[in-house]
Amino acid sequence: MGAEVAGMFANVDFWAAVLRTGTPLVFGTLGVLLCERAGVLNLGIEGIMVAGALAGWLTVYAGGSLWAGVAAAACAGLAFGLLHGLLTVGLALSQHVAGLGITLLATSLSYYAYRVGFPTSTRPPTIVPFAEMTWLPVPVLSAQTPLTLLALVLVPLLALVLARTPLGLAWRMVGENPAAAEGQGLSVLRLRIGAVATGSALMGVGGAFLTLSAFNAFYFNMVNGRGWICIALVVFAGWKPGRALAGALLFAFFDALQLRLSQAGGGVVPYQVYLMLPYLLSILALVAVARHAMAPQALMRPWRRGER
């Protein structure tokens, strides 16, 4: 089996699969990271990804272009992000509870809308998804769609915005010390809601990757916990975009690995053990980094002006 594993790592298809499964996680992780750097936990991600997946697919199915689908997914994410921002920032409600409520709302609304549109489809209707960029001379990248490229470009872009721009500084400031930011004349309200809305738009695009690139149809339960994984990955990444990319790819690596190992394992070990591996490793990774975790100081703390 050792030789098989070594052969697998030399295989370009394997690494292409890693990048492909990692892409929605990169979008989602960047979205969570942006929200959390501004001090807001967004447990709405699981539902927002479902809404993005549906909005993107529906737009293309209705005759829009693929990029219009991506934009629609971003808008769907933005809308739910605004709602989350309004509840958790504007009204200072519990971020945990509101986030879970948003997930429930976005998921159920999406499923409801899909079933209203397609009441009795035994086989889900399909679209023509993004094509692989076979014209690219880079081996692993040439097997990806433009959305993966977009995800890869967004990582340094978000890092740059957060580290080097006044907006990024302001976002980090409301996540670390909102009182100080308010003292500087910044609007904590606007900055936090802006960050949550933008981050949620990224989550929406992450969901759309599933329907517009990875698959060609909308399925129930297709997000299947990817959003929750992103929440874990951000902690693992220490709230840094570059490490978020690394974390997402690492998770995707183990996901691709377990798939191939369970095929190679020949039924000696139950396949469920392999499926558990990525989740268990995520928990272990969290334990490993938790001691040194540098969470934004004001994360999960609702901010009420004039209250201490």
């Binding site: 429930l104 499923y111 139950p270 499926l275």
Partner: protein, 353 residues
């Protein structure tokens, strides 16, 4: 825009808040029903009739409410201490599996035990399994500073895969013809019927009993006070001598235990064995129920009845009208969010400045 605490909270405002929230929910979902092209009034009438309109409707609602009360309590007690247990779904399955592991024994010494011994042993095993699944993440939070939201969420997936593995392997029912289903619970361990010729079982008594017991514990015992103190302000509580970590540990055991009990009660009262689809998200719905109830144990019973009625009613409604059953989940989600906002406005006013 800023929030300003109302100097005096009118008692009428707190009582009226849920009604305002429900009215808003009905308004929003009415728009969605109309969008689906169905008559709004008839849809609501059918949902209500299907959930509460007849003896059969009530029996189905009560059956559905039973596990929801327990998972709702699990969420309510944990959230009161600000222990974010999002893992009730996994804890429920762990409890169900443990119940069958004990109560499905056909050989060995324990199999010879009378039902009077094996039945409590089965419940204890289920509660222990559920509790363990929350105690570990809680210890990881208090000792290693690992956020329990993420760990309890991820454990749901691990547990479901573990259950699937057990149903394929050691706990597979050989008579199930390849259908993933566990061995059956011994017949003499099944819960009795509460109402004749319905599916309502005595698990409902356990669930409501647990709710009233928990209400008493939270209100009138030192432990209850410590839970509330640890949740309201852990630093102040620790300063006042409340053992915060130990309280969280006990809350975890209690919350996980309640979710595990929900699994055992479902097996003993309804299914008789474990399948991978025995819970359509009872653990997650329990969170919504706990929030609708304002984390109050007795309120959980009422909220669980409401949610169960909506779920059962929507199932029955969608057989007649072209409105997808997912409308039930939308109703629950909108009710939850509008309830949060309504109770906030009972205590605060919004100043636009």
């Amino acid at each position: 825009m800023r929030l300003e605490a109302r100097g005096r909270v009118a008692p009428g405002a707190l009582i009226g808040a849920p009604f305002v929230a429900i009215a808003f929910t009905l308004l929003v979902t009415a728009a969605l029903v109309a969008w689906a092209g169905a008559p709004v009034g008839r849809t609501y009438a059918l949902i209500f009739a299907g959930g509460f309109g007849s003896r059969f409707a009530w029996s189905e609602t009560l059956t559905r409410a039973t596990p929801l009360i327990l998972t709702g309590l699990a969420a309510a007690v944990a959230f009161r201490a600000r222990l974010w247990n999002i893992g009730a779904e996994g804890q429920l399955y762990a409890g169900a599996l443990a119940a069958v592991a004990v109560g499905g024994l056909r050989e060995g010494t324990a199999a010879a035990w009378p039902a009077a011994v094996l039945f409590p042993a089965m419940l204890v095993a289920a509660m222990a399994a559920g509790a363990l699944l929350l105690v570990v993440p809680t210890l990881m939070r208090t000792h290693l500073r690992v956020d329990e939201v993420v760990t309890t969420l991820l454990l749901n997936f691990v547990v479901l895969l573990f259950v699937s593995m057990m149903l394929d392997g050691p706990m597979k029912d050989p008579a199930a013809l390849g259908w993933p289903q566990s061995v059956a619970l011994r017949d003499d361990l099944a819960l009795g019927k509460l109402i004749d010729r319905t599916r309502v079982h005595t698990g409902l008594v356990y669930a409501t009993g647990a709710a009233f017991l928990l209400a008493f514990v939270m209100r009138s015992t030192t432990f209850g006070f410590e839970v509330r103190a640890a949740g309201a302000n852990p630093r102040a509580a620790a300063f006042a001598g409340v053992p915060v970590d130990r309280t969280l540990f006990l809350v975890a055991a209690l919350s996980g235990g309640l979710a595990g009990l929900a699994g055992a009660i479902e097996v003993a009262g309804r299914t008789g064995y474990v399948t991978l689809d025995m819970s359509p998200g009872y653990g997650y719905t329990g969170i919504a129920i706990a929030m609708l109830a304002g984390l109050h144990p007795v309120g959980v019973v009422a909220a669980a009845l409401f949610v169960a009625g909506v779920l059962v009613g929507a199932d029955s409604m969608s057989r007649d009208l072209a409105v997808p059953t997912y409308i039930a989940d939308v109703i629950v989600a909108v009710a939850l969010l509008s309830m949060l906002v309504a109770t906030l406005f009972a205590r605060y006013r919004l100043r636009l400045r």
